[in-house]
């Protein structure tokens, strides 16, 4: 009679148990979908797996009649491009401003409250302003991501920089380091792995902003497609797109984790949270 907290399933049963909820979900979907389709064969809400498969085939492997593109790949490419630009710019801003804020009190004093305020503004509320300032092209979408994500990264990098042990900075000074050298050789390398971690944490928001922006004004993209086909309730397209986006999000997270482990072997051991 071991305690519940001490009973540990072995590898195989863990795998099985892990698959279980997904199998249940799929089964539930199949049952409700079939019962709905039995009543109304035109029902689009919970399409059968055949129609979903057909839709995927159409989107991924048949060029669109209107544009000649393979829609799924085209949408993915265009979304990923914007996402990478937005997240890349945010990371750069977060890194530079965050380190400067953390390192130099004279910069921190004016910039820290500003970015704190920025990080509290819900970006969706200022969408109209964004469109007016940045137009309707890709720039506005990238900027929405940047405005939504960069202030968070700035704050995180600033905190991380500030949390470096004071002892290290003193030590560096006794070794003759200038402010610039301390930033470059002590702060920057120690803050980089945390940047990757922070980017991983904000990737969800970045996707969110991208989809929201694409829903509002776009000519392609994963979010665009979902909100476009919403006009005729085409769940056979929406569902695989959602799964696809989820998979992409998972993949990116995984790749970033790998990179961090590879590039900063000393980090994982310092900080248990890196395997979040």
């Amino acid at each position: 009679m071991t305690r519940l907290i001490n009973r540990k399933p072995d590898r195989a049963s863990r795998l099985l148990l892990g698959l279980l909820p997904f199998i249940i979900i799929v089964a539930l979907y199949l049952i409700t979908s079939q019962s709905r389709l039995a009543i109304n064969p035109h029902d689009k809400l919970l399409p059968s797996f055949e129609s979903i498969y057909h839709a995927i085939y159409q989107m991924a492997f048949v060029p669109s009649r209107r544009t000649g593109h393979y829609l799924l790949w085209n949408d993915t490419l265009s979304s990923l491009k914007l996402l990478f630009m937005g997240v890349g710019i945010s990371a750069l801003v977060g890194l530079i401003v965050g380190i400067i804020n953390g390192a130099i009190p004279l910069f921190r004093a004016p910039l820290s409250p500003l970015f704190t305020a920025f990080s509290l503004i819900p970006p969706m509320a200022i969408l109209p302003i964004l469109f007016i300032v940045f137009g309707l092209g890709d720039l506005a979408k990238v900027m929405l991501i940047v405005i939504g994500v960069a202030p968070l990264l700035v704050r995180d990098m600033q905190l991380k920089t500030l949390s470096l042990p004071q002892e290290q900075l003193i030590k560096a000074q006794t070794l003759g380091a200038s402010s610039w050298q301390i930033i470059l050789r002590v702060m920057l390398p120690q803050v980089l792995p945390r940047l990757i971690e922070a980017v991983r944490l904000t990737l969800g928001s970045a996707w969110l902003f991208l989809i929201a922006a694409e829903a509002i004004a776009a000519t392609s993209g994963l979010g665009y497609r979902i909100f476009l086909v919403r006009r005729y309730l085409d769940m056979a397209v929406i569902l695989p797109y959602v799964v696809w986006i989820t998979f992409l999000a998972f993949l990116m997270d995984w790749i970033l984790k790998r990179i961090s482990l590879r590039a900063f072997p000393w980090y994982a051991s310092l900080n248990g949270s890196s395997n979040t």
Partner: protein
């Protein structure tokens, strides 16, 4: 005797209303190994910070070579803390090379080519001195506590500091390793002719290592306002004469140190 390298003149240090150090008047001469003991929270680290330049005196002055001390850490004063003294993102070799790299490359703080080879040579030699030749490319987290402190010392010595400050450098180490470290630091003190200022909690360590031992303690007490008066140097023993120390005095010192530990309240 030579000129004092450090001298405190009527030195006070307050934090707000709390007086931590009170009217210190003392000289430190080149080549001395001063060990400092005292109750927890009595201001030992504070005095060390004053020397280091990260804190400033409230009244009075602290002189280095008879000049007001620079209010910022610099290369003349090396430091080893109990923890966090080495850079976790650099290998042992990089940690030790850092000092030279910084002075040779003001812009990047990183050297390449021939320069790098020279620095690498010097750093390896220094690491050999502290017995870390076999761990050149390990990261600090791959080193034991004792090895990390050796590394920190090697790193600090690369700059040939005029004063080496140690704040409980062996406090976190196991007794066996501690004994090794004592041997090492004593050797380095002789070889490199350092001036060392070391804070410790272990009075035996203080007696064993130092050429001079200070005890920090409050002389005056105000029961209503314990923060009113600061600590002073109540004993200043030259350890060559320590044999003349009376047994009763030793007991007093021992007691002084432990009165700060709350478990004995």
């Amino acid at each position: 005797m030579s000129q004092p390298i450090l001298s405190a003149r009527n030195l006070y240090k307050d934090y707000g209303d709390t007086c931590v150090l009170e009217r210190l008047n003392v000289d430190i001469y080149p080549g001395e190994f001063i060990t400092v003991v005292g109750a927890s929270g009595c201001g030992k680290s504070t005095f060390l910070k004053l020397i280091l330049g990260t804190e400033q005196a409230s009244r009075g002055e602290l002189l280095m070579d008879n000049q007001p001390i620079i209010h910022e850490p610099d290369e003349q004063r090396g430091i080893v803390f109990q923890r966090y003294s080495v850079f976790p993102h650099l290998s042992a070799l990089d940690n030790v090379m850092l000092a030279d790299e910084l002075s040779h490359s003001r812009l990047l703080g990183k050297c390449f080519g021939k320069h790098r080879q020279q620095i690498l040579k010097r750093a390896s030699d220094m690491l050999a001195k502290v017995g870390l030749s076999h761990a050149l490319n390990r990261y600090p987290h791959e080193l034991s506590g004792g090895m990390q402190q050796r590394l920190a010392i090697a790193q600090a010595l690369m700059k040939k500091p005029r004063v080496l400050l140690l704040d409980e450098p062996f406090g976190a180490l196991d007794p066996g390793i501690r004994a090794d470290m004592h041997k090492l630091i004593h050797e380095l003190w002789h070889q490199q002719q350092l001036t060392i200022f070391m804070v410790t909690h272990d009075i035996a360590e203080g007696f064993k290592l130092g050429s001079r031992l200070w005890v920090f303690d409050k002389v005056r007490h105000d029961p209503q306002a314990p923060e009113r008066f600061g600590a002073q140097i109540t004993y200043d023993l030259s350890l060559s004469q320590s044999s003349t120390l009376k047994q009763s005095e030793l007991a007093t010192i021992q007691q002084t140190i432990h009165q700060g530990e709350p478990s004995n309240e």
